[in-house]
């Protein structure tokens, strides 16, 4: 299936103006809560600097830290698996399921498993996985992807959730009360936790010196799954490694404040050994990350701790919705991670930005996101992955701009053309600029002419 480009999908999204405004305002509200939380910590900028430096150090010694982590985790009684790509990751999980003859699986939020397409893979094999994060359960019922890495169902209104729950959980039709709907999900998912034979979780941080890992949730769903089921599989991209437990202080102080404005998530669970009678597995996944590490301009994207602050602040994300990005990780950070995975399929994403730089300003680990978006554009153009129209347009523009006389002549020509045939510029088919914008009146003279006239006066 040919996916729609970001611009095409976004134009569908913004067709519903009140909903677009609601989406925009809701995410901006989350961004404002982030600001309030960040401003409450005097050493906030020092924390960002430490976090950035710890991650840079870790990336520069990553192979050794991964070896140390594996060794310690094994000594703790955990089975460690390595997966070069999504397919290997899915195969490893499937083998554990089959070997233990598991029927029922619960999964807490893991963007990595979304990236690898684990649910679809297991579904084809006849195995159903129940997503237990409320937002993820909602989108799973609707056969949709999460539209945001922290708030998976942020594209939906409570009426949509009510309708979905009415259909799948038999809740009262038309009852849109979030409290009522959440309670229904609680009852439904409690039974899933109790009967599960295996729980899959993500990993927020993995600590090299101890072989332990930390999982953060507000709902408690990762813990309900991981402690109730006889088998726990934790799936992690290899960039989740940090050197020492004391570094968790820096990251846990930043993560929830950046994500939702909370001082910390309700639960920050530190796992290192399997529970009584349990099996614990860790799957360490590459899936393009080692390649990204070799791209000097883009390797810093691997510092990401998935807080989604860049989503909530982005004027393009807020007004185009996560699904327009057609990838598991959307938003500004997704737009610099995904071209590495598939440049052709994701060539549109670095252009889904105004390059305003707000993403870089709120990033708790100081990733230069907007710079990388701009650099990806250059890579994508030089690799030939832009449309012919854009290529010709940009070439024509460069030609005109590099010749002052031609530039002055063209300006004059367009100005008179605009006043003679204004309707040509107000035809959406002919003028893509006009599709979502008003055309200004053509000025009578250029700035150069105006300046020459007024300088003398």
């Amino acid at each position: 299936m040919k996916l729609q480009t970001h611009a095409a999908a976004a134009s569908t999204f913004i067709a519903d103006e009140p909903r677009t405004d609601w989406h925009d305002e809701t995410l901006w509200f989350v961004r404002s809560k982030r600001d309030k939380a960040a401003h409450g910590i005097a050493e906030w900028e020092a924390l960002r600097e430490w976090a950035s430096k710890i991650k840079e150090h870790t990336l520069s010694n990553l192979d050794n830290y991964l070896i140390e982590f594996e060794e310690k985790a094994k000594a703790n009684g955990v089975t460690v698996h390595w997966a070069a790509n999504g397919a290997e990751h899915n195969q490893i999980v499937f083998d554990i399921i089959r070997k233990n003859n598991i029927q029922k699986i619960v999964k807490s939020k893991s963007m990595l498993t979304e990236e690898c397409g684990l649910n679809e893979y297991l579904h084809v094999k006849g195995i159903e996985t129940v997503d237990t994060d409320l937002g993820e359960r909602i989108v799973q019922f609707r056969n949709e992807m999460p539209s945001h890495i922290v708030l998976p169902a942020i594209h939906l209104k409570k009426e949509d959730v009510s309708e979905t729950f009415h259909r799948h959980l038999g809740t009262e039709k038309g009852n849109n009360d979030p409290q009522y709907l959440t309670e229904a999900a609680r009852q439904h998912l409690r039974s899933k936790f109790i009967e599960a034979g295996l729980a899959i979780t993500g990993v927020n941080f993995a600590i090299a010196e101890t072989g332990g890992f930390v999982v953060c949730t507000n709902e408690g769903n990762a813990d309900m799954g991981a402690h109730a089921a006889p088998i726990h599989i934790a799936c992690m991209g290899f960039e989740k490694i940090i050197p020492k437990a004391e570094h968790l202080a820096v990251f846990l102080r930043l993560l929830a404040r950046s994500a939702t404005g909370q001082p910390i998530t309700t639960y920050s669970s530190h796992f290192s050994k399997p529970g009584a009678g349990q099996q614990m597995h860790i799957v360490i996944v590459d899936n393009g990350r080692s390649k990204q590490l070799g791209r000097t301009d883009f390797r810093n994207s691997l510092k990401c701790i998935r807080c989604a602050a860049c989503f909530n602040t982005c004027p393009v994300y807020r007004r185009s919705g996560g699904h327009s990005y057609h990838t598991a990780v959307s938003g500004p950070i997704g737009s610099i991670l995904n071209p590495n995975l598939d440049m052709k399929a994701n060539a549109d994403l670095p252009f889904a930005s105004t390059l305003c730089g707000s993403c870089s300003n709120v990033c708790p680990v100081k990733i230069d996101i907007h710079q990388q978006l701009w650099k990806w554009r250059q890579v994508i153009v030089s690799e030939g992955y832009v449309s012919a129209g854009k290529k010709i347009g940009m070439k024509g523009m460069a030609f005109v701009l590099s010749k002052p006389a031609l530039y002055r002549f063209s300006g004059k020509a367009v100005r008179s053309f605009m006043s003679l045939f204004p309707f040509l510029f107000r035809t959406k088919k002919l003028n893509p600029w006009y599709r979502q914008r008003q055309m200004p009146e053509a000025p009578k003279q250029s700035f150069t002419d105006w300046y020459k006239q007024n300088k003398k006066a």
């Binding site: 809701t26 509200f29 989350v30 910590i41 050493e43 020092a46 600097e49 430490w50 150090h57 192979d63 991964l66 070896i67 703790n76 390595w82 070069a84 290997e88 237990t132 409320l134 708030l151 998976p152 169902a153 939906l156 409570k158 959730v161 709907l181 959440t182 309670e183 409690r190 936790f193 600590i207 101890t210 507000n218 709902e219 813990d223 309900m224 402690h227 109730a228 437990a245 968790l248 202080a249 820096v250 846990l252 102080r253 939702t260 001082p263 910390i264 309700t266 639960y267 920050s268 530190h270 290192s272 050994k273 399997p274 529970g275 009584a276 590459d286 080692s290 390649k291 590490l293 390797r299």
Partner: protein, 192 residues
């Protein structure tokens, strides 16, 4: 070549030159004058309840009260309890109305308490109970997470958790709902 070798070799070839690990200076970190007041204010702002207790024996009265009311209560306060062990499964623990657990440290900046495996006895207990009651000694409250990690060995046991308030979600239209999957309430009794 297997995945492990392939991944490690590629990382080794592609990683940048060694960068220094920053020193984290506690001099640069906030110290609250009144850590108890900050802890209480923070935890209450995120849906928790903070009460003071002068004598640990008062707790037994509270537990008895709950039991007399016919509620299924489990307590891990003294470390040993005939009714509670680490082999109990989710079906057994699902009906728990209230659980009493001791915490090692409280963190003023975020209202979190640290509970290690030996304090909860069963890993599921603090999550599966309907209501969570935590007991914390007043002098165990520290200013920030840096101070907490400095005092704790968080991986000394197989599991441990920072808990800050009741289970919650805002996944439906950003409306805050208390009681997602875990405890519907969290009360911290501060022992003077």
């Amino acid at each position: 070549m297997n995945a492990r070798a392939q991944i490690l070799n590629t990382i080794s070839a592609n990683k940048p030159a060694l960068a220094d690990l920053p020193a984290i200076s506690l001099q640069q970190v906030t110290n609250y004058d009144d850590v108890f007041a900050k802890f209480k204010a923070t935890l209450e702002s995120i849906g928790g309840q903070v009460l003071e207790l002068d004598d640990i024996n008062e707790l037994q009265l509270l537990i008895n009260e709950e039991k007399n009311a016919g509620h299924y209560v489990l307590t891990a306060i003294n470390g040993v309890n005939d009714e509670l062990n680490n082999a109990q499964d989710a079906i057994t623990l699902e009906p728990v109305h209230k659980a009493f657990i001791k915490a090692s440290i409280g963190v003023a900046e975020n209202g979190a308490v640290w509970i290690k495996e030996s304090q909860m006895i069963n890993r599921l207990l603090p999550f599966i109970c309907q209501h969570l009651v935590v007991v914390l000694e007043k002098e165990k409250i520290v200013s920030t997470m840096h101070h907490a990690y400095q005092q704790l060995d968080v991986f000394e046991e197989g599991f441990g958790v920072f808990i800050a308030g009741p289970s919650k979600t805002a996944d439906i239209e950003q409306s805050l709902v208390i009681g997602a999957h875990g405890a519907r309430s969290m009360t911290v009794y501060i022992l003077n």
